[in-house]
Symmetry: C2
Subunit: 157 residues, 2 copies
DNA sequence: AATGAAACTGATAATCATTTTCACTTATTT
DNA sequence: AAATAAGTGAAAATGATTATCAGTTTCATT
């Protein structure tokens, strides 16, 4: 039915790890989420389907899903881990709005090439990289301009 | 005597924050450190000069030094904050050896320019960015090759 | 130099995300 | 079905960081 779920079950089986109702519900929530959610948010959503689930179980399951290569933990430096889909996804970097927290996933092959060159120039064997561009998204910029012009009582057409 | 210390004292004075022996010692340790140290490491070093100092004081002082723009907290995702010099420093990114933890500070204006373009293409107003390239430094690569060739009992000239 | 208010310090407690522990339950193997 | 292995949930533990608070120090003013 769901190829990712198939893959996950296979991964668990290969590693002698059992499949369970909890793990199934958590995987479902993860697969259906459209944003990058934290453990607390995933916990809340799973709780709707499985009200007796424990917090630690969500942690354990998400760590497993990461190990299986289906999810990736992302760290923005605010002390809260969030998760994003990784299965069948290309590597990408992030544009992050510092106002509303919106994420945009980006990939720039020119930058990637320059990164390889840069590493090479320093005799580094590059394994992976992380790039985050922080700024204000167009919606937040628009909103900020609006409120500025209202404050200044300027005409705005 | 020390222009950074002057600057720091001025910053504190401007903000009605007092100067103290502890803050002085902590600043000294920070200014003299050549690597990116954690709070625990700074605490140990300060302790040599000032054995009664408390852990919290180091946290407080380092946060102040950051606010003054002299230090910057860096986060590698291992849950430990380290600090680097910022005063009079250009922005830079990091090459990080995943084996020995060595840092190399790098700056690539071509990449920076592409980042600006990338943000613009997504209608983002770029404020700052963070780029970390993880890999193995040449020393660690050499060491790894050595031990491999020893294991394989190959000749290595 | 003395004073008093405001800021600082150090020890400790609190917080917060995450991990571990452990008694108990569920699944798999024999 | 019994034995074995793994999973679960609640609660405790952990580790980095921050807050609290009584006692101390600083600094501007007498």
């Amino acid at each position: 039915m769901n190829s990712i779920k198939q893959f996950y079950k296979q991964y668990l089986q290969n590693n002698k790890i059992r499949y369970s109702a909890q793990r199934d519900k958590i995987l479902d929530v993860f697969l259906n989420m459209e944003r990058h959610l934290s453990i607390a948010q995933i916990y809340e959503l799973v709780r709707n389907k499985y009200s007796h689930i424990g917090y630690a179980t969500v942690y354990r399951a998400m760590n497993l899903i990461c190990k299986a290569g289906i999810a990736e933990k992302i760290d923005l430096g605010d002390g809260i881990s969030r998760f994003e889909h990784k299965y069948g996804q290309e590597h990408h970097d992030h544009l992050i709005c510092v106002n509303c927290g919106k994420f945009i996933e980006v990939i720039d092959t020119q930058i990637e090439e320059l990164q390889r060159q840069l590493a090479k120039a320093h005799k580094f064997v590059l394994k992976r990289h992380k790039m985050q561009l922080f700024g204000s998204c167009c919606d937040c910029v628009k909103a900020a301009k609006q409120s500025l012009s209202v404050l200044a009582k300027d005409k705005q057409d």
